[in-house]
Each structure stands twice: as C-alpha cells, then as structure tokens.
Amino acid sequence: MIRVVLPPHLRTLAHVGMEVSIEVQGAITQRSILDALESCYPMLRGTIRDHDTQQRRPFLRFFACGEDWSLESPDHPLPQAIAQGSEPFLVIGAIAGG
C-alpha cells in the first residue's frame, strides 16, 4: 500500500485522517499515486491538480523522502521507500494567506 499525507482542508473534504493508504497499480509515480487517490476519494478531483489541465495547483507541492518532487516529471518513478510504503508521499499546502 502507498501512504499519502494530505493537507488539513483536504482531509476534511475526504473525511479522512492525516494519512491514507491506497493501492496503486503499476509504476509508482506522482501521476499514478494521484490517479489512485482521486479514484478512491473522488471528492478530491480538481483540488490537487486542475480538473482540466491536470497541472499541479500552484500553492501545492509534492514531497517524497525529504525531497521536493513538484517540478519533476509526473511519470518519473518515485523512490523505493514510497513504493514499499515505508515513507509517505506528502501533499503540502503553501504556508501563506490569513
């Protein structure tokens, strides 16, 4: 199982806790994780990636094993620790606003 940590507002929207575990088929990439996440929690569609363009929303970033993967290709394989479930894939909201 792949572990995904969500920012607080998305936890409320999906009625889940800080972390969810999801099954992901095939290569473990940002795209495959987010596709599986949105499939399990369809209320999150459009909130992390633009509904139409599938681009990452500008105030969100993706982290894996302490590194920022936001600007990497969404199809680039993520570290083994993510694929094995020993580390979570983090969706982080920018600290901004009031």
Partner: protein, 396 residues
Amino acid sequence: MSKVRVLVGTRKGAFVLTSDGKRERWDVSGPHFAGWEIYHVKGSPADPNRIYASQTSGWFGQIIQRSDDGGKTWIQPGTPPGEQKAAQQGPPKGESNKFVYNSSPENGGRPLTTHQWYDGTQHPWEFKRVWHLEPSLADPDTVYAGVEDAALFRSTNGGQNWEEIAGLRGHGTGPRWQPGAGGMCLHTIVLDPSNAKRMFIAISAAGSFRTDDGGKTWRPINRGLKSQYLPDPAAEIGHCVHRIAAHKSRPNVLFMQKHWDVMRSDDGGDSWREVSGNLPSDFGFVVDVHAHEPETIYVVPIKSDSEHFPPEGKLRVYRSRTGGNEWEALTKGLPQSDCYVNVLRDAMAIDSLDACGVYFGTTGGQVYASRDAGNNWAPIVRDLPAVYSVEVQTLP
C-alpha cells in the same frame, strides 16, 4: 408561523441564521466549510431545502456543495462523502468541481479563447472560481453559475455536472472584456419569472447582457451607462456593473449599482438612466428591491472606488420609495461614527414577509437585519469573518 433562513457566505466559511417570522431571536449554525472562502450560498425557490454553495480556495480550487435538508448537511453533488475503494464503478464522480470552458464552434458561434488583459493584450480564459449561484425558479436541479474568468455555466442535475452556456462568451464582444480590480467575474444573474428564456447577467468589467432565447444568443444592454474611466465613456461594453436587481412583478424594470452611478432601466435593459439623485455617494456595490413595493429600492453608498467604506464613517442604507432619485438615509441601529466596513455586491437580501425584512453583511463580519423594511436595524451577528454574500429564504 413563517420562518426565515439567512444564508451567509464569508471569507472563512458559511453560516446559516434562522428565526421565526418575528425575526427577533436568531439561531446561528456554522461555520460550515470552516477555513474556506464561501463566495455565495443560495436556496432553490422551487425547493427551499435545496441549497447550493460555492466553496473556493486559492490552494485547492473550486468546490460545489449542496444541501438537501436546509443547510444541516452538505454533499459534493454526485459524490457521497466517505466513498472509497468502490469509486471506479458507476458514472464518473468528482465532476461537480469541473468547470471547463466550451470553445466549440457549435456552441458559441466561433471559438473564443482570449479576452483583454490589464495591459490591453489578449489573455487566455482561465477558470478561477464561482462567484454566484442562481438556482432555477422552477426546477431544484437546475442552477446557473457565474464564474471568474467571466462565463455562465448551467447544471441540470443538481450540480453534478456543469456545462458552459457558450453563446455569452461567443457573441462577439468577449475579446474586449477586461478584468476589474477584483478579477473578471460574472457576478450577477437575474432570471425573469415571467419568461423562462430571458435572463440578465452582469460582468466586471464588461457590463450587462441579456438573452431572450434561453442563452443561445446574447447582446450587451449598456446604452445610457457612462463610465469616465473608459476612453469612450458611453462605450457598448467595458462598464464595471456591480449589481442588478429587479422586482419579480416587473422584470422589465431593472435597477443597477454601477462602479459609480445608480441606474434604472424601464425597458429590460435596452436603455438606462441615472437615478443617483441625492445620495451622498453614488459608488457602491449592493442594490435590492422591496418585496412588495416595486418602486422601493435600497443601496448602501460607499465613499469611492479607492476608499471602500461608508462616507463620513456612517453606515447608512439609503431607501428610495420613488424608484430612485429621491433617497432617505436609514440609520436607526446602524453605527453612525467610526465605521469603515464595506458591503459587497452579493451581501444584501430581502425576505417576503409583511413587513419585509432587509438583511446585509459587512466586511467587518456583522450581519444586520431590519424587520420593518429598513426603518430600524439590529445586528444578528457581529463577529463573523468578512461577509461575502447574504441570501434569505422565507419559509412556510
């Protein structure tokens, strides 16, 4: 006994305020969707338990919420909460947040992909948020959404899916539309109760538009408007209309609060004349019409476009009983010193009790109510987040 339900959208959530017909004591529920910007909440005239809300965020985009029990519980239409694992089955879910512009020639006459940017160059249309939700007068499952960047969408299945009414953007003037300081938003939708095919909309800063054929074709209705910030003050489009209101018994008579000027049309928007009269400032955002007196209208004057607060620090609603030009200040119960809040365009509403109640919200978080058509005022709540919108439902 009748009841009223006031629906309040704020910068940090939605609130539902309820009272009996006396409108003396109020129950406050909320915040719903705590922490999110709630641009608008509005109930269906055809089914008062059906309420739609626009929940939006700079981080997470647009969410449409729907209640089928008068605001007690909410769902994202078509996506029951807590659903998991079985999501692959059945029709696509999570579509209620999907607002995609339709630039198909079949729908708009011709593809339209750009509008005017602040610097005069052309800029692609980019969906940002839903400013206004207008439920159908007859069908609880049909609802219109006015969005930024300016366009009109419609759902006919209770908000599960949205389709752009592309004839508006495609009618020809779209490339000349430009954003105001608050963005290029379609913020006003007025449905004609006597003619289901007729609708009025307003866009900042493009102006007002009308369809007479259910949205297929549109035309600007801005003749008589004068905006000194335009190279041609009487231009066909480019006016920063803030709000339009009409009485249900006289849909041909429209009242408008423009960026500057309060205006009136007696011919469905074909022509407008100024009725600012003796107002202390004719800048403002809200305008609304008395429930039972079609010539009685309300505005809240704001000092100027750079000083978004009441003149002299006195929060005054102005009422005209003559359809404009002659205005009286309504001040009893409202702060008459050191008040520097704003009242935004969707933040006034009027119930249909006798005497009608008038409600408005401020950017300071107060929601004021008058249960005698404006003569006396009292706050229902004083300390909400900045109020974006106020709507009221009169319930049996």
